[in-house]
Every structure is written in structure tokens, then in C-alpha cells.
Assembly symmetry: C2
Homo-oligomer: 513 residues x 2
Amino acid sequence: MNGAEALVRTLSASGVEVCFANPGTSEMHFVSALDRWDAIRCVLGLTESVVTGAADGYARIAGKPAATMLHCGPGLANGLANLHNARRANSPIVNIVGDQATYHRPYDPPLTAATEEWARPVSAWTRTVETADAVSTAATEAIAASRAAPGSVATLILPSDVCWDECGFREPTAAVIAPPAPVDENMVAEIAAILASGEPTAILVGGAALYGSALQRAAAIADHFGARFFAPSQIARMERGRGRPRPERLPFVLDQAIAALAGIRHLVLLGALSPVAFFAYPGKPATPLPAGAAVHVLARPDEDLDDALARLADRTGAPAKAAWSSSPRLPAPRSAITAESVADAVAALLPEQAIVVDESVSFGRGFYGRLHDAAPHDWLQLTGGAIGSGIPMATGAAIAAPGRRVVNLQADGSALYTVQGLWTQAHERLDVTTIILANRRYQILLGELKNVGASIGKSALDMLTLDDPAVNWVKTAQSFGVEAARATSIRRLSSLMAHANSRPGPFLLELVI
Amino acid sequence: MNGAEALVRTLSASGVEVCFANPGTSEMHFVSALDRWDAIRCVLGLTESVVTGAADGYARIAGKPAATMLHCGPGLANGLANLHNARRANSPIVNIVGDQATYHRPYDPPLTAATEEWARPVSAWTRTVETADAVSTAATEAIAASRAAPGSVATLILPSDVCWDECGFREPTAAVIAPPAPVDENMVAEIAAILASGEPTAILVGGAALYGSALQRAAAIADHFGARFFAPSQIARMERGRGRPRPERLPFVLDQAIAALAGIRHLVLLGALSPVAFFAYPGKPATPLPAGAAVHVLARPDEDLDDALARLADRTGAPAKAAWSSSPRLPAPRSAITAESVADAVAALLPEQAIVVDESVSFGRGFYGRLHDAAPHDWLQLTGGAIGSGIPMATGAAIAAPGRRVVNLQADGSALYTVQGLWTQAHERLDVTTIILANRRYQILLGELKNVGASIGKSALDMLTLDDPAVNWVKTAQSFGVEAARATSIRRLSSLMAHANSRPGPFLLELVI
């Protein structure tokens, strides 16, 4: 058995079922081993940004890692932006990068690059394997590292000779996943006292407190004590929709975030980081927190959130769950195209247990609030600000959840980063409905340019608009084998969305806004 | 004046005329400064891989750097693969990356990443500027570093507050470019003796010895002494065509390279690196050089190649130039589609002073040899093995050379990495003819898989073929505003190429092979 086959068997033994891949010459033995040992599904991405973004989307829904297969340093580099997003989402990924043979690397052939240096900043664990005998142990460690709470990118670099050399091999056992650490009881007591104090308090939940019993418990506690209840601006995965808790999302726009938190004396963090401004702006504060507000960490993202909440409920007498009222689902509107009417149409037509991928950027800031009463769904969002995550994330989520419709609310400028992902959706016949919000400009930057007080002349406008020529999204999608159509009214949007969701396979809907 | 305006004025004072850009929020002051000071042409790329690849193509033709404008660490990351190619081509680029404000970075907002760590491996010079007052000096140093022989990527990281803060400013003077160092006369004498010895010798020319008087001199010396005359497998820029020297190109395929160099006793390097195998293969050598062959460095890439050659000619009595016979231009063939007939059709129809961008990968290995007798042209090639360079490189070359037709011989799998570059060609009305060589598979990898002795089963085939669905390149191009048509015969290829080259603006030709 060679190193590549040992790798594949080790991945399989620890429950890795999918490999998102864009292989090159140095990965041919890995490809061959996957071919011979067919327990792992291989999904081809036409660029590495699709590969890593899909691995992120898969991890968020599957709750476990896929493997990637990337080609040398430059292949890794192409995937770094979506690995950055995955890192910010705490998505587990076993990120596998093939590379030059150990003995050939010193010759510095043209494709040699800084593979390990580039991988480290996005990876909680990084190793270049030096011998075939070391592959299986390293892969097991990588899987364990990726799955340790709250989830991380673990990068395994495999020189080609390490893949093709013969190795001794024992049947691997599954990686042992460290359980999340329990929260200190003193901290639970401190938070209980704050909640009981009646002082204006907000609970900000993130990570694993955005779904399952943890979300239910957190919402019930907030409700019990009348505390404000927030989700972060960037949500990796959240369970939402009718009958589920509905935390406010902290606004992306700094002034709005400041307004949302005004008057708060205590901010309790539960698997979330303390909020900061996405960017600095001249003369504005670095965080939206009111001066003098105290931040209390009930549980870090890597700690046992559900257990901490159960203990907090025990201590305070809060219920484990509350009933959440919600308005009935409304029919899709027939009004003009606005952010509100688009959101309402999507809410009306969202299938049960859909997965919503939101990379709607500026146009879609109001979508979150208006989807509270849609059918129950998972909500995934761009987490690291590196645009181009939506199409790949929708692709990976669909691989993780056969039978569930993925609806990707997708800004056009961001979609152009990773449009190649549409081909994978067609190739794999994935149930993804992509709604391109085509405003044909970088609207967010036109706003930011005004924010900095600059006048907008020809050169600036030329760098921020996409209407010369306007991308024909219907042709783009069709060229990659995805059925597509254009809508210029809410009525047409609704009928196309109903059509798209009623049939198997991908569909792209260009909504001219 | 703020830091951003100081930057723009400094770039302009040193002759930087073009900025390839994909801006974000942290670059808004830079955008605004470019808008107010309109000496620099801004060219938008829809992804950063287009931006950096275009800067590479521009530098190869213009012989001087463009600036880039990238958004934070992830924006840089998206551009790293083509910066890797640019580094391998010794292309001068002033690579400008906006980033989080100096005082905001410690808060670790979501888009914060390892900007400087990611930049260093591709950059000969890297600096994060900390104050607005330091911007102008740093930019001047970056330009000088990028232009020092043989040319490099210089990365200037600009936190947003450094751009918006006011600064003291004196009108900048142009960056002083260090001249290339002269070669030691002892080395010239040593090479003269080797050439005079009559022992089997090859001269391998690279860098600035692939064009202008250096190429003429080198070819005349090789001719005078009956030495073999080679160009590297990866050519950054070469002047070719009727009446010009015609070095053999070292084959990419290792066994062929070994055969090409068989019998050589001395290899003289002139601005080129000693040849190595592109990848390691089990049981094959690391370099194609015969055992016992001696390698002599007449001049490193950073030394004065033309001067070294002039002195070598003086010392040996070789002429400065020779007349190079060439066959007459042949009409385009009307045969079946083969690598040879495609090359002959391109050769027949290539416009005078065209720029050929070759990312034809496996199908086009014979193109080089068959274009010896085409009209005089520049030949640019993928240099670092990071595929996805062709469309951006053609875009940048066209910006550098208005009035010259760029012909991009483009493999389909590689084209899919950076297909977004077609939009920039349409937006800027660039005279680029893209010929997509559509074999609908990663042919090179199917070959490599066979080379490693692996059987090719369903999973492997699925990762190496692109025909389910086949990309419709005509629609892809049209969706980005580029006129396009499909050819399934050499006759149709010829008529479409004649049409494409006779009209202004971009054209894409899908050749089904």
C-alpha cells in the first residue's frame, strides 16, 4: 500500500465522506487511490476557490469535515480566501494540499511556492508529511484537529513521493474528537447574577448556540429575564423560520449597530466574539458597544455551550424552551422590486427545510429580518468578508443535504468571483436555486465612497460599476449547464422561484434590481 | 494632501501609468485620489486573479510596472497565483494592498488576515506603511525594487488610516533604478574558451536575452561557434517570427528534454536558470542534463546580459548579428483539426507585431516550433505553472500595446480559472482574440495519471473530464460582452480568426478539438 491509499483509508475510517477537489500532477496518486477505494465521493471544482468554499458550506450543514484536494502552493493560494471565511465560521475542513516531492523541492522547479507559509494563517493545525509511513497518523491528527470545538481548518501537505512510496499500514481507527471544555461554574453564577440584577443586558449568541437545543435554551433564558437577544452580523449557520427563536442580528452598518446596542449595560457572550466595526472609519469608534458597557464571556466558542446554558437555566429557573409565536406565511407580494418585496417573495416561497445562503451584501441587509416567518430553514452567511463565498457555499451545502433545496441570495459583484461553481452544481445535479441580485455595480463601495466624503468622478465610477457591459447572467448560467431565466418583476420572480424549487437540479434566476 | 494622494502622485512621478484594480472599502481613499489625479489609467478586474495576471502581462510588454489595487489579505490571496507566475517571469509589479486601519487591526475584525505573511513569498520587497508621511518614500522604494534587474513584485501594504491621514508632501522625483551589474571579465573569458574548445556546447538564454539586441547577439554567437541554442520551457517574453533568431525551446516533457540535451558537455546560462524537471517522477532524474555536463553561468538574470554578450563577441570575433533565413509564410491549411494544422492556421493568419499568449498546455506543445515563420511577434507564456494566467495576461498585454493584436492560445481547463477576465477585455475594448482549445478535459492529467501507472476508473475520470456538461464558450464569452463563435474545422477557424483580427475589440473563438 502506498501513502495515498493509506490517506484515503484513514479519512474514510474517521467518517470523511466527501472530497472537494481540483487536482494536478502531484495529486495523481491521491486521485488513483480515491478511484480504487470508492467510499469517498469526489466533487470537482473548476477553481480552488470553489473547492474550499464548497468544503466550508458542506461543513456548516454536515457538522463534520470534508477533505479538499488542492495542487501545490498556488492551488492553495487560490483557495485561501474561502478558507479565511471558513476559519471565521469555525468550519471543520481537512485541507489536503499536494506538493513537489521532498527531494525535488530543493531544485525549486517553477510551481514550487510557499505552501506551508501560506497555509498557516488560516489553519489551526498544519503539517508537511515527510514519509509515507507518517501519512496515516498525520491524517488522523488532522481530522481530530479540524473537529475539536469549535471547528477549524487543518492543513495536511503531501509531497508527491510521500503519496507514491510504499508504507507499512495498520487498519486505522477513527480519530478521537476532544469534547468541548465545560464552563467554570463561577462564570455561570456571575451571569445568573447579572441577569437577575435587572440591569439592561443583551445576550449575543454565536457558533453552536445558533441551532439546536442551545439556541432554544438561550432564547428561553433571554425571554425569561427580558434580556435583549442578538446574533452576530456574520452568521455561520443558524436555524430559523416559523416557530423558532428570532434573535436580532447585529447590523453590519456601524451606526445602526451602535443604535441597536444603545443603553446596554451588560453584554453576555455565548460562543460569540465581542462585536467590532467591520472597518475603521475616520472619527468613528472601533466597536458598537456603549461606553461603560461590561462584556461577560459565559462561554467561548470552544466551550460546551449547551451544557453552560443548561446549568444557567437550572440555576435561574429559566425554562429550557419557550413557544415562539410567528405570523402566518404571507403570499408573495406583487409590488415593485424593492429589498422588502424581494425578501417577502422569497419568504413566501421558501420550501420547508430549505438552506438559505446569504451573500446578498448591500441590497439584502433587510432579508434576515423578513425571513423570520418563512418556513423553517438553515441560514448561512459570508463570515469573513472575503466575497465570492455564496455560490461555492451553496454547492457544498447541497452536497451535504440531499433532498433539501438550497436558495442562494447572491449579489452579482460577489457572484462574479466564483461563478465557475455553477458548473459543479450542474455536474452534480444539485438542488440549488441561485437568485442573482443584479444591480450591476459594487453598491456597497459607492456607499463607502460617499461615507469617506469623496466626490465620485468618472474614474471612480468606472471602478465601481459593472454595467458596461452588463453581465448576461442567463447566458453565463446556461454556458455552465444551469437552466436560467431573468426576472424584472416580483411576479416573475415568484413564478420562476416556484418553478425552480419544484424541479430537481440547479436553476439561476437573474433578478434585475 | 492625504496619504492616498501622495501615493498616486509618487507613482505617477515614476512613470506608473496603469493601475489594475479590484477595490474594497479600505481602498476608497485610493480610488478617490486616482479619480482626482487622472494621470493613471484604472482598469477593473472582476477578481484579483485577473488583476495580478493582467499586471504581469502588462509588465512583460511595457517593460515597466503597473500598480495593482487589492483589498486586504483575502484580496491579495486571490491574486497570489498570478503573482507567483509574475515572480517566475521576473515581471516588475508595484503590488498595492489596502488593509485594516493600523489602530483597528488589533480588534481582529472579520476581514483581517495575514496580508504581509502571504505577500512575502512572492515579493522581493514588502512593506506595511505605518504613517501617511511615510507613504511617498515607501512607494518610491517599491517602484525602484520592482524595476531593479531582472524585475520583481514589490508589495506595499497600506492601512486605510495611512491613506486618509494628512501628510507633509514634497513633489516626488522619479525612482532611481539600479542598473544591472556587469559580468566579471574572467567569466566572459571562460565562456569564450569553452566555445572555442569545440566541445559540444549549448547556450540557454532567458529573461532579457530573449528579445532585442541581446537575443540577436546570443544567436549570432551560437551560430558562429556551432553551439546549440535553447530557450527555456517557460518563456516570459520572446521576440519571434520571420527573420528573427529561432532558439529551440527546451521541451516540458522530461524525457523529451533529456533527448534534446543528450550529448551536451557544456551548458552556458545567459539570464536563464539551470533546467530542472517540472515535477518529480518515480525513477526519473531531477534534471534533463546529461551526467557529467558542466553548467557555466555567463550572466545571472540580474546581470547585464547585453553587455556580457557584446564583450563575448568582441573577445571571440563573433558577429553582433546574423541573418536568419526563414520559410515563406504558408497559407492556412484546410486539413482536419490537429495540433499541427491549428498551429499552421494561426501562423498563417497572425497579424504583424501580434502578441501571442500561450497557455495551450498539452494540446499546444508543438505550437512554438510551428510559429517560427509567422509574422514577427512577441511570445508570452505561463511561467510558474499556476494555470489561469492566459486570459489575464492577454488583457494586460493589450493594455500595454494599443494597436497590436493579442492572440491568446488558451486551453479550456486553464481558461476556466480566470474566465472573468473576458469582461475586462469587453469593458476596455481590447484587441484580443482568444482561441479556446476545447478538449473538455484536463488532458495533461489524464497523461500524468497514465505516467504513474494508475488505472483510470470512474471516479478518476470524473475528476479529470469537463464534458458533463460541456462548457458553452460562445455563451460564456457573450455573457461577458465578448463577441464569439465556434469552429469545428480548420477552415472555419481560419475564417473566424481573419474576422476577429480585422475588427477592433475582443473576440473569442471556441475551437472544438
